[in-house]
């Protein structure tokens, strides 16, 4: 383990032994459908409340990640997880079911890579042989908590994003077959004064830019090193802003594929209701643990930097006139020699 600036280098190269992605029906209609482990055909996720549905997604994802890793419940030592619900109840209830030592984290939609970075730190340092990272979101739990209950049918501006329904988990291990986790860059809180809670992409873009810039500076790498750099969920409004800001910083993102999980998960031409694209804790989790890892295992991608972005507001902080603090955490995944 070595730290430079805000970046950890995992010298013992922990691997993602297995991962999982479980989604709802709308994500199952998107272009990545074939990469998910399971697609529920109902937005209720076979449960009586949205919140119980979100929890079920995460519990399913945890179980599936263990199966896909070929390890038992008893072998798993720690679970690192969080979600968007107040007091991260989905994660805590999932941890109750799993019965393993639990570290609850919160980074809004950056939780996917925050939890993966901590699980990797644990495995790299010898604090665990097997640690799970996981997160989930549900469109209706988030609408109800942060905006209005879905049943109200409230209208949104076209730059708003659509919280995805899905959960993703990964099992990080000291050794085994799978992508190596080589670096993690822990983000700083960035806040450029955006106060419109629908305009998440704009609010989060500077955080993504700050973390990407720090990652290249700290690691000594350049964008061309990666086959793909993918942000969490900046979507159609935020990604162009991030591109422009990175150009001003002199970071040559044109050397690599630069994409966004919120743009990849839906077909915005057909699924018009997603507006500017996907968001939510589950977004970068299911795109990374479903789509990207499968492409890496097939040999289509060798080196990927996932930069999950999060907007750290609460309805109350917004109502009290606060702007939206944002953060982004990056993790580098590489197929070994």
């Amino acid at each position: 383990m070595k730290v430079t600036g805000q970046t950890w280098k995992f010298e013992n190269k922990p691997v993602i032994l297995g991962a999982s992605s479980i989604v709802g029906p709308e994500e199952g209609e998107g272009p990545l459908a074939q990469d998910f482990d399971y697609i529920y055909d109902n937005i209720e996720i076979n449960e009586k409340t949205w919140e119980k549905g979100e929890r079920r997604l995460l519990e399913d994802a945890a179980r599936t990640a263990l199966e896909n890793s070929g390890i038992t419940e008893e072998q798993l030592q720690f679970y690192v997880g969080g979600d968007l619900m107040n007091q991260i109840i989905s994660s805590s209830f999932a941890a109750r079911k799993m019965g393993v030592p639990y570290i609850g984290v919160f980074g809004a939609c950056s939780t996917s890579m925050e939890s993966l970075a901590i699980a990797s730190l644990m495995v790299d340092s010898g604090a665990a042989q097997y640690a799970m990272a996981g997160t989930a979101s549900h469109n209706c739990t988030v609408e109800k908590q942060f905006r209005y209950p879905t049943e109200y049918g409230s209208q949104k501006p076209p730059y708003a994003q659509y919280t995805i329904t899905g959960a993703g988990c990964s099992v990080v291990a000291t050794q085994g077959v799978g992508p190596e986790i080589t670096y993690a860059t822990i983000g700083k809180v960035m806040d450029l004064g955006i106060k419109d809670p629908f305009n998440m992409g704009t609010a989060m873009a500077p955080a993504a830019v700050d973390t990407i810039t720090a990652h290249f500076k700290d690691s000594g790498r350049s964008p061309g090193y990666y086959d793909l750099v993918v942000t969490g969920d900046l979507a159609a409004v935020g990604l162009p802003i991030a591109k422009e800001l990175l150009q001003k910083e002199g970071v040559r993102m044109e050397e690599t594929d630069f994409m966004d999980c919120g743009l990849m998960i839906y077909d915005r031409d057909k699924q018009k209701y997603v507006l500017s694209g996907g968001s939510g804790c589950g977004c970068s989790a299911v795109v990374t643990y479903g789509h990207i890892l499968k492409r890496m295992r097939r040999g289509e991608l060798k080196k990927v930097l996932v930069v999950a972005t999060g907007a750290l507001l609460s309805p109350l902080s917004y109502q009290q006139g606060e702007s939206i603090p944002c953060i982004a955490h990056a993790v580098a995944l590489e197929m070994g020699g």
Copy 2:
């Protein structure tokens, strides 16, 4: 770094270089008043909203911890923190002000030791030379969010606890003068079916017992090794239950002083409004970082195990009929040779 069961042994012995405790007026009337760095004389903490007050406590505590450690803002590499507010806004706003890479965590009132365990893992493994752990709570923000606004004057049962107003931070470093952090035991979620959100002590006692039992099993130590074992905030109802359960488990707690931060912070005879005692993220933080560390530095205590307990419910999970999942994380502090 070595892991046994759910316990980390920090072989490089990170130290608490400095710490801080900032409290409100009610904590300033309690028996530990002389141990706190600063006592606000108004529950508003000189701010216009309770939430801004809570944030200010944490920002004050972060600044004071740096001063007490003798390091600069530039030297601090990471901040690990969380609180009880939805989306842990107090911590995220404090992180915005500090401008350092930030790991948001949530463990309800166990956040004090969860954040200290992670900061210690970072320093022990070489992921940081200096990392801060911190948390805060405010009586009125918590009453408003979890129960009713304080102005309603709603009555509570005598077994209810009183959320403390205060913030505590610590700076963990690779070397320097201060108590060494030797072990951390990460808790599992325990839930024995308690559904009354006022009855936190009863709900949390089994989690404390599980973590204490695991700590002694994993570390090979016995209670008599410590001068003091202190739980987070079980208060007058929960501590006797924990004692009884530990006796049944055959853990000889009579070999050590066994206390509770929620009982230590107030004078329950004079401060009748605190009912069965203190609670809240700030409770174990200010008692540990204020009172206990000062006793250690004065040589009155050499070996202390702090077991912070947390109730991971949300108002919504309670309203949906869920029982209260609880957790406890333990950290061992020892004055070096």
